[in-house]
Amino acid sequence: MLGGVLGFVLIQHSIPVFISVIISTIIVSIIAILIHVTMLSKTKNANELSLIIMTIGISIFLRGVVAVVLDKDAHPLTPFFNFSSVSLFGITFSSQYIIVICAVIIFVGLFYFYMNKTLPGKIMQAVSMNPLASKIFGIDVNFQQLKAFAISGFVGSLAGIIIAPISFVQYDMGVMFGLKGFAACVVGGFGNNTGALVGGLIIGIAESLSSGYISSSYKDLIAFVIMIAVLFIKPSGLFSSEDVERV
């Protein structure tokens, strides 16, 4: 949401789109780092649940701030390309989708490479798997968490600004994306990036098909119906491997 709103404000002030994207992603990354340094890392006896609840609280606070500073209205943003729509194989869609799809392909590829093929990426994975062992081998766990927050701020901001011409800019534009992202993670399997991507595709295609064949009124329902169905059939997600705990 913050990325979309900041990008929108910058573009409204006649700053070129590309520069607006860079500035908003940098600002949101810095905000994410500040949130980690000033709040999350200072939490005493923190466990996963308390940190999740804390981040939900922070997101509600940020939405409140944006609603007060900007307003509660939905603001349109023109697509980044000069042409507004594209026709391909008889399907007409907004030109902004090209940017969204390209960004997804590029960043998923980059993250896959970074997390699985480089030592700093593997270190980040190691910290999430076993923080104590990571510390014991000399890894600065706090710095790795900071890095993860900065990356999530960057990605969230970039996603917010490039989706803005499709979804409109509004103080609560991130809520449904967040919930559907969560559903996509559950469908794909938590901790599996490729699974989450495929989960997102499954949910997106199902939503579009349901809009066409049933009714667009039930579009938002579909994501959560799929999520609940997956939780019944394969609670660990469609693409997860079974965790084995050795004793």
């Binding site: 593997k122 270190i123 510390k135 014991i136 084995v244 050795r246």
Partner: protein, 236 residues
Amino acid sequence: MLKIENVSVYYDKAIAIDNVSIEVKYNEAVCVLGSNGAGKTTLLNAIFNVVPKLGRVVLNNIDITNTPTHKIAKMGVVYVTDKRTVFNDLNVYENLEIAAFDIIKSSGRKFFEKNLSAIFEHFGNLEEKQKLKAGYLSGGEQQMLSVAQGLIRAPKLFVMDEPTAGLSPKLMGYVFDIIAFMKKQKMTILIVEQNVNKTLMATDRAYIMEVGKIKDSGNSKDFLDSESIKKAYLGG
């Protein structure tokens, strides 16, 4: 090399270790023995600042009482905990890579690969399973991987918490062979173990812990069949 002075640890109001002082000298193998709940693991966790403590810890004349765990690790010390230090979703090779990440950064990958070959001479089964996720290894193999992760850092001080816990007698013997190898390499060792006789045979000095306090100390061989050992494990 390592001095622990008057260290106490409290879990809420309950005292886990009470005013414990021990010393480990260069090239010495020291063990801490005691029954379950004696405070042995807490003592090691206190040294590495995994739990908050009172008292003082000095390593190579440097006060590390308040040094973060990851910085202590960079001072040539390795701590293989009783909970194993493997990363389940990474393969065996990657687990060793992560354990030696700072060595790779400072000395290069060639140096790491050379160290790795030396490690695999002792852990042949790990070499065969290099591409297998650590989570799929057996409990014994995971324990071996933890020790290998420690060894690849070429530490000056190797601290181990119950490295033979849950292992078959054959693998247990193998762990003690590795400890003997470490001693030959002039590595300083601090080990907490339940396997009393083998540990006493493998080490130079021993401390006996009982309900959070050091009850006795001396040459390891003198404790074989001693009364204080029986008392520490059987009570009385």
